[in-house]
């Protein structure tokens, strides 16, 4: 896992918190104050006093200010903020959905970070917890929420302790009009899926639910549950202070703002980077300094898509990455060096994802292991003329056939691999596997562990 000391903000010429002080010519320059990690320094968490000294108090509504929620949502709408948990859904629409619902809703802060190659949620909660809490209080005031529940994974003890400390600092002050509780939820891949998280908060199994109509609100008890990603709420806290135009200073018209990206794999400085949306993929990974020639980049996490080195000029936006078979998803990039075998790495990803199925839906329970086995055989490279047809059938057999999007993500990732690594696929099916097949994975072994960053 990228460590806390490898966090860098692209907003300053020197990498904040990096062990070296290399300046990086590729880093886009974004106005410093209005960014998530801009004011943060390595190895310490912003306490309430330093947070307020840096950003000033959040513009929470005054008593009886009935027009405030509408104004706040209009501000978020003008900013063009979209959710940063993976779906990139417009945040203003999500806020309007449940505003003033009765019984009063619960605002859930999703910092579950199920993606093994992601570290942004824990970085946010460890470094700028008050920014996330500001955003949560603002959103909770819009919704008229009864309470805020911050969910972190049970094995991230340091993150948990830090957010609890921040909540305690604010409790009973004007900065906490809506009470906050912090919960440690189970840490499997699908546990952060919003219906799974809400199921767990309802003392259920913590597995995704079947939602034929996504427009029907999730419920905790009898009230609606609104689940927002921690990064999304951090952006809301900034937009509320500095205005929608300040958010739009970074990024393009269709994808404004900055975004947190966790870069890992074949790079010298794995970590969480704050970049302007629309920065090219190549420039984003350059900030983490690839150690050797790049063959491809896994974008959007294990359920995202591979993008070849020929497409490194693609802007980092949901639309542009989607057009080349990739995804922004929860902000994850894994760099694959040229010496690696993309098929062997894809087989490892598929096997991991098969193990992370919630085990509820037949096509996922049986289909993902079958898909992983197809890929493992393809990686081994014994000649098999039926291999590709079988692989294609298994991709189709899992795609869209679960209650949640877990199998769909695997289908997309494997499809992209067959396209990006097509030359290797041809060689493997002809019985000539890559030399790297039997070597160790180039995906950093640390990303397989659900550990916490070393402080």
């Amino acid at each position: 896992m990228p460590t806390a000391t490898s966090i860098a903000s692209a907003t300053s010429a020197t990498k904040t918190g990096a062990p070296d002080t290399d300046t990086d010519a590729h880093a886009p320059v974004v106005a410093d104050r209005a960014t998530l990690l801009g004011g943060w320094r390595a190895g310490r968490s912003a306490d309430l006093r330093s947070h307020l000294a840096h950003h000033g108090p959040p513009p929470l509504p005054g008593p009886g200010d009935s027009s405030w929620p509408g104004r706040f949502v209009a501000t978020i709408e003008a900013s063009g903020l979209t959710g940063r948990g993976g779906a990139s859904f417009p945040s203003s629409i999500k806020l309007r959905l449940a505003a003033s619902a009765r019984p009063r809703p619960t605002l859930v802060v999703n910092a579950m970070e199920g993606e093994p190659a992601s570290a942004k949620d824990r970085i946010l909660l460890s470094c700028v917890p008050h920014l996330v809490l500001d955003g949560a209080e603002l959103a909770a005031c819009v919704l008229g929420a009864e309470r805020i529940v911050v969910c972190v994974v049970h094995d991230q003890r340091a993150t948990f302790d830090n957010i609890v400390r921040a909540v305690t600092e604010r409790a009973g002050t004007a900065l906490a009009p809506v009470p906050v509780e912090v919960r440690c939820a189970p840490g499997r891949y699908v546990a952060g899926e919003e219906s799974a998280l809400v199921s767990w908060l309802n003392s259920g199994p913590g597995a995704p639910g079947w939602r034929p109509d996504k427009g029907v609100a999730l419920k905790i008890g009898r009230g609606a549950a609104l689940v927002h990603n921690a990064e999304t709420l951090g952006h809301m806290a900034l937009i509320a202070r500095y205005g929608p135009m300040s958010f739009r200073d970074a990024g393009g018209a269709d994808s404004p703002g900055t975004a947190l990206v966790t870069v890992s794999g074949g790079v010298a400085h794995p970590g969480v980077y704050e970049i302007a949306m629309g920065t090219t993929l190549g420039d984003v990974i350059a900030m983490a300094r690839p150690t050797e020639a790049v063959m491809a980049v896994l974008t959007g996490g294990f359920g995202g898509g591979w993008v070849s080195d020929a497409a490194l000029g693609t802007p980092y936006t949901p639309r542009a990455l989607g057009a080349v078979g990739g995804a922004v998803g929860p902000g994850v990039l894994v760099v694959l060096p040229r010496r690696a075998c993309g098929i062997a790495e894809t087989a490892r990803l598929a096997r991991y994802m098969a193990g992370e199925s919630a085990g509820q839906c037949g096509p996922c329970v049986f289909g993902l292991p079958a898909l992983a086995q197809d890929l493992e055989r393809l990686a081994a490279g014994s000649p098999d003329p039926g291999a590709l047809a079988r692989l294609g059938a298994h991709i189709a057999a899992v795609d869209g056939r679960g209650a949640c999007r877990h199998p769909d993500g695997v289908a997309r990732m494997v499809r992209s691999a067959l396209s990006v690594f097509s030359d290797d696929v041809a060689a493997h099916t002809a019985g000539r596997p890559c030399a790297a097949v039997h070597g160790p994975s180039v995906l950093p072994p640390t990303i397989w562990a659900h550990g916490e960053p070393t402080p």
Binding site: P212, Q360, G362, P363, R401, G402, A403
Partner: protein, 69 residues
Amino acid sequence: MNAVIKVNPIACTAYGYCAELLPELVTLDEWGYPVVDGSPVPAHLLDLARRAARECPRRAFVLARAPER
């Protein structure tokens, strides 16, 4: 009513009655789970589709109103 078939994949445990009753609209994958394509159920198959929904031992086979176009 324009109806579509939806299968609750969590509830479904691959009894396969739906494919027996309605082979025109339901096929089974290699593990025996139903595959449906989401297109509207033709009028002449509606009664069979209702029966498949009624007789699904897991109540996983659902006839839902088709989305407005």
